[in-house]
């Protein structure tokens, strides 16, 4: 039954493919670590190179998959060190990762996130190996009604993020959803809030949004701190570099739960690392944040989204390899890369192309180990970024923001939009808003509206469709529990919720 995997390891362990897996891991980490330049850019840039070099299909795929998984590892670095997410899946990582760096724990934070990423990816790759064809059947059962229920559940878990200023959290989320409505309406093709600017027809790009919101506003805040010479912006000196075993053990349940959540969400077509890490973070906060330490540098708040975004990256290979349907924006490009090689991924691929599928899955195992070995010692090196003087760091952030957006859009309007969103983000932060609800509203709100309307188009307006399948009923119950249970005894929470969610 696992012939393809044995064959795959034979392929992946050839010197060329091992070297390519390493190169992919290294470049991926780098692409992910640079804010604004994510796996999509990385793969788009290296795809023609792989083709031009005449690499065989499995080798090209090993290189590109290495970049994909590597960038999920790398994305966390600038999140932790600079409070600027390196890519879409790393937004939630800023919430507890950056406060940890401010406490002088940048090294352990990087180490812990590497370990969480490793575990998340491993859980997902094992899941991919064992259950891929089976999962594919379940994944397609997830229709618009189920997606809508999942979004309801995600918003319900967000109630955990209310924090000290619930009104501003809500306003932030509403603003985020509002931003997601910009562009061509997916149901009717009507243009909403585009003001006759074609640049806005496709909606506001996620990269432009997070780079503006985080990187540009961070530049302005750093300027303020530098001007006032205040302590708030200063980093504590870097203490120890390595993460302790006890810290990993402290997060073990957070990591395992989030790995499963990330994998499952990654498998669903149409959702990616950003949704996976958001749901994992809010769920974890709901389950285990008893002392309200999430958001202030809680290790579990860092481990959860990191495990989830790596798990979802591996999970999104499931629909791609088994159904020929991309599970995320990045696998969509991988699919394109395979088509250049006359390989059409689909239900027959496991049988017809065992070398490619097996080689890919085997290389995911190998690449994942490489990434851990590469990233653990690098934690200390990268933590030194914090010691770079501001007058070099800040222009570097600006350069990366510009290049990242320009590379994706070749268009100045996108850069102006990024700057405008930056000012918006700065003003929000000065008013005491957290940016996370805005991003969550943006990511989840659009999906929620689209899927609600799709479900109702299917049923011809009958609302009953939202509660018809077992999957959606389960999600509705979970959503209700997530809101209601904490209102009652705290002890109940510990008993019931983990069982319902996982």
């Amino acid at each position: 039954m696992f012939d393809f995997l044995i064959q795959g390891f034979g392929v992946a362990l050839t010197p060329l493919n091992l070297g390519l897996a390493f190169l992919g891991a290294l470049l991926g980490t780098l692409f992910g670590a640079l804010p604004g330049i994510g796996p999509i850019n990385g793969i788009a840039i290296l795809m023609p190179l792989a083709y031009t070099l005449g690499l065989p299909a499995e080798s090209a795929l090993i290189l590109l998959a290495g970049i994909y998984t590597g960038s999920e590892y790398g994305g966390r670095m600038s999140s932790i060190l600079l409070n600027v997410p390196g890519d879409a899946g790393a937004v939630m990582t800023t919430l507890d990762g950056h406060p940890l760096a401010k406490k002088g724990l940048a090294g352990p934070a990087l180490g812990l996130s590497a370990v969480s990423s490793f575990i998340g990816a491993t859980v997902a790759i094992v899941g991919l190996t064992l259950f891929a064809p089976l999962l594919a059947v379940v994944a397609v059962k997830f229709g618009p009604a189920e997606f809508f229920a999942l979004m309801i559940f995600a918003f319900a878990s967000m109630s955990a993020m209310m924090g000290k200023d619930p009104i501003k959290t809500l306003i932030g989320a509403v603003l985020g959803v509002l931003i997601s409505t910009v562009g061509v309406d997916s149901g009717t093709g009507v243009l909403r809030f585009t003001f006759d600017m074609p640049e806005l027809y496709d909606g506001i790009d996620f990269v432009v949004m997070i780079i503006g919101l985080f990187a540009v506003s961070e530049i302005l805040l750093m300027l303020e701190h530098a001007f006032r010479h205040d302590q708030d912006g200063e980093m504590a000196p870097i203490g120890r570099v390595m993460v302790k075993m006890s810290e990993v053990m402290y997060c073990k349940w957070a990591i395992l739960r989030s790995s499963v959540i990330g994998f499952v969400i990654g498998v669903l077509p149409g959702t990616g690392a950003s949704v996976a890490s958001a749901v994992a973070y809010t769920t974890e906060k709901r389950i285990s944040d008893r002392d309200n330490t999430f958001g202030t540098g809680d290790m579990r708040g860092l481990a959860a989204p990191e495990a989830a975004n790596n798990a979802s990256a591996a999970g999104s290979f499931v629909p791609m390899l088994t159904l020929g349907i991309p599970g995320s924006g990045t696998t969509a490009i991988l699919l394109g890369a395979l088509m250049l090689y006359n390989i059409n991924p689909g239900p027959m691929m496991f049988r017809e192309q065992p070398v490619v599928v097996g080689g890919l899955i085997a290389s995911l195992y190998i690449g994942n180990v490489m990434l851990l070995l590469l990233n653990l010692p690098l934690a200390g090196v990268f933590a030194r970024v914090l010691q770079v003087p501001r007058w070099i760091l800040v222009p570097s952030v600006a350069i990366l923001a510009f290049v990242g957006v320009y590379q994706l859009h070749s268009d100045l309007m996108a850069i102006y939009l990024m700057l405008a969103i930056g000012v918006f983000g700065y003003v929000l932060r000065k008013f005491g808003f957290s940016l996370a609800p805005v991003v969550l509203g943006f990511v989840l709100g659009g999906l929620m509206e689209e899927n609600l309307r799709r479900a109702l188009s299917i049923s011809g307006g009958d609302v009953a469709i939202l509660f018809q399948s077992g999957l959606s009923i389960g999600l509705w119950i979970a959503a209700a529990l997530v809101v209601l249970v904490p209102m009652f005894a705290g002890k109940l929470k510990a008993k019931f919720l983990p069982a319902k969610v996982s």
């Binding site: 470049l27 780098l30 330049i37 850019n41 990385g42 840039i45 190179l49 200023d165 009104i167 501003k168 809500l170 306003i171 509403v174 603003l175 959803v177 509002l178 409505t181 309406d185 149901g187 009717t188 009507v190 909403r192 809030f193 540009v216 530049i219 302005l220 300027l223 303020e224 530098a226 001007f227 006032r228 003087p389 501001r390 007058w391 070099i392 800040v394 222009p395 570097s396 600006a398 350069i399 510009f402 290049v403 320009y406 590379q407 100045l412 850069i415 102006y416 700057l419 930056g422 000012v423 000065k430 008013f431 005491g432 509206e449 609600l452 309307r453 799709r454 109702l456 188009s457 307006g461």
Partner: protein, 152 residues
């Protein structure tokens, strides 16, 4: 003063809510297969935003410290520099604009002029080499440089 900040915000949000509502209301929809249509969600959001804005007006929280005087000037100046960076990015090319912008920002962040110039130039050159040769990303050369060097 602090209370006033949140109240100003709540008025701005009310304005935004009204704007969203008017814009959404005016959408021309030829026809829609779902009963919700493209108008409903923006309208619901604007109503929600209006309610939240009113709550914020009644119970304003502690606003942050707002920049004034020299700091405000510097912030505006930084945004202007970034705006100019964008405006000149394609015509002047990556290297020139990046060098100029890096020098100015470095100087804004307290580097001495010598450090700022050397650091800015190295950053521009280093990042150019990293992106172009290391990562294979193509960056604008600058339209002025092409006739100068006689290439097409």
């Amino acid at each position: 003063m602090k209370l006033a900040a949140d109240r100003v915000l709540s008025l701005l949000l009310l304005g935004l809510a009204a704007f969203v509502a008017v814009q959404a209301w005016q959408l021309q929809v030829p026809f829609s297969y779902d009963p919700v249509g493209p108008k409903a969600v923006p309208l619901i959001l604007s109503a929600l935003l209006a309610v939240l804005a009113i709550v914020l007006f009644v119970r304003p929280g502690a606003g942050g410290e707002w920049p004034t005087g020299a700091l405000l000037l510097r912030l505006v100046f930084t945004m202007a520099v970034l705006g100019a960076y964008a405006a000149l990015f394609i015509n002047l090319g990556f290297l020139v604009t990046t060098a100029l912008v890096s020098v100015v920002i470095a100087w804004l962040f307290g580097a001495t002029p010598v450090k700022a110039v050397v650091g800015g130039l190295l950053l521009a050159l280093g990042s150019y080499l990293l992106f172009t040769y290391g990562l294979g990303i193509s960056l604008p050369t600058g339209s002025w440089i092409e006739p100068l060097l006689g290439s097409h």
